[in-house]
Symmetry: C2
Subunit: 295 residues, 2 copies
């Protein structure tokens, strides 16, 4: 029997929190201030969407929990580092994240730079340590590194930076988000599934359709929330994209069409999961969660 | 027959340059500006000390060239990313590196941040792709990630930051440099040797004695050069440590004792190589090079 989705989600978020706490050196480890700041950046925050995707995808093929814990912590460390660097004055210059002062505000800019750098390294430490089949783990390193680098997340951020003030069309906007947020969401799904077995081409293709749909939906909903919610609900500064003159789905398609698009993408994601049967239930529910979230 | 050291060094530097050029996406690959800046940061510069160590250590156990090329490129990408981030205004705020404008001066701060982030990811892409035994390669990922992270290079930089204006004693200064530069030099030696065979504990211990000695020598000589050479010779701003009130070996021990220390460390490094016989000749010569360099 499967646990109820909300119960599973809460248990998995707790598991992820424990894994992150275990896999980042304690704040009494030298250099203490760096480790304290790494923990500040990564622990006790966020919806843990990527770790949830890792664990939900792990259920497809009964992946061992220890490998899933490492994969979930690693992908969340990459996400956390990207937020720390993204919030810095030379990037988005944001003072609030997950309802708390950003790392460069709480500590200082140099520390924020090092925290991000060290969290990225820590992700690869976590994936490369511990038990498990070496070729599986090496393939997981490869998937995570590719998703993080210049043809993945960093590349998307570079396109985002270059796009401020430009009138991107929809295809260009999708390309940017496919790299900036989509690549790491895809990696989360693949890492979870790979933890269970070596994937066939058709399995990768089906998971990629799912990941592309939720990745895009995630961004469309982000844009909707940025345009409609307040900062207290979001835990970050609302209305910032419009203020920064950044292209968004809402500015491009309007609010109603953006909401319709999110719903359609959710259906696409559900459809891609059909070959996996009932084992895919939590991935199905996560697509709903991504579209229905209020923050 | 071994090649003459200078001939080998030049050939190996060329091999490293080709590997870096091959393993970083071309500047016509989207996003073009990011890839152009990554190539600007990593190509055509530096003495390539870490790649030279990789290739020299690879000779101990006849490591295959393809794996050495990947290891050398990966360790140099980590080094290059650390320089890009280190030069940023919130860290050392340096405008000149390897005789050229630093990345944030040539491009902009946000690009420098992303270039560093993407180069770190690229190092793990390069190590995890290509042919070779998976458990060897996974172990190489682990060594490089540990050397780069909060208990290695990033940790050393955090201690360095925190030490400005403080009167570090010699033990504290050594601890800082052991992490900040020593960890990555050690990784270079280990990656080269591991490319040839699985290392025994005694082999690792001997190589660690060598690495610790050249790592410290490298830093002592850096401090000597910072105090005595001019910016044009160094290709970076000279006298900066003294101006920033950073502790150095020269400020702590004086110039003459620093020079004697460098010579003693070189002897220690040579001694550690004795068990490896004539196959260690280039590692022996590299220790000389590190102590005798003028820039």
């Amino acid at each position: 029997m499967s646990m109820d989705f909300r119960t599973w989600m809460k248990a998995t978020q707790d598991l992820c929190e424990q894994a992150l706490s275990e896999f980042i050196p304690t704040s009494s480890t030298v250099p203490q201030r760096l480790h304290e700041a790494m923990r500040y950046a990564a622990l006790d925050g966020g919806k843990r969407v990527r770790p949830l995707l890792v664990f939900a995808a792990g259920r497809l093929f009964n992946a061992p929990e220890e490998l899933l814990r490492r994969a979930a912590a690693a992908v969340e460390m990459i996400h956390a580092y990207s937020l720390v660097h993204d919030d810095m004055p030379c990037m988005d210059d944001d003072a609030l994240r997950r309802g708390k002062p950003t790392v460069h505000v709480k500590y200082d800019e140099a520390s924020a730079l090092l925290v991000g750098d060290a969290l990225q390294a820590q992700a690869f430490i976590v994936l490369s340590e511990g038990a498990g089949d070496a070729s599986t783990k090496l393939a997981m390193v490869r998937v995570l590194a590719q998703a993080s680098g210049s043809l993945g997340m960093c590349g998307g951020q570079a396109i985002d930076l270059a796009s401020v003030g430009l009138a991107l069309n929809r295809a260009e906007l999708e390309q940017m988000h496919r790299l900036k947020t989509g690549a790491l969401l895809r990696a989360a799904v693949l890492l979870g599934a790979m933890s269970g077995k070596t994937l066939s081409t058709s399995e990768i293709e089906a998971l990629d359709v799912y990941s592309a749909a939720i990745g895009l939906a995630f961004q469309v909903v982000d844009d909707i929330l940025d345009a409609t919610a307040d900062s207290a609900t979001l835990g970050k500064t609302a209305g910032k994209d419009a203020a920064d003159n950044k292209p968004t789905y809402v500015s491009l398609l309007g609010l109603d069409a953006s909401k319709e698009l999110a719903i359609q993408l959710c259906k696409d994601a559900h459809g891609a999961l059909l070959p996996f049967g009932p084992q895919a239930q939590y991935l199905h529910d996560l697509a709903d969660l991504i579209v229905q979230r209020q923050a």
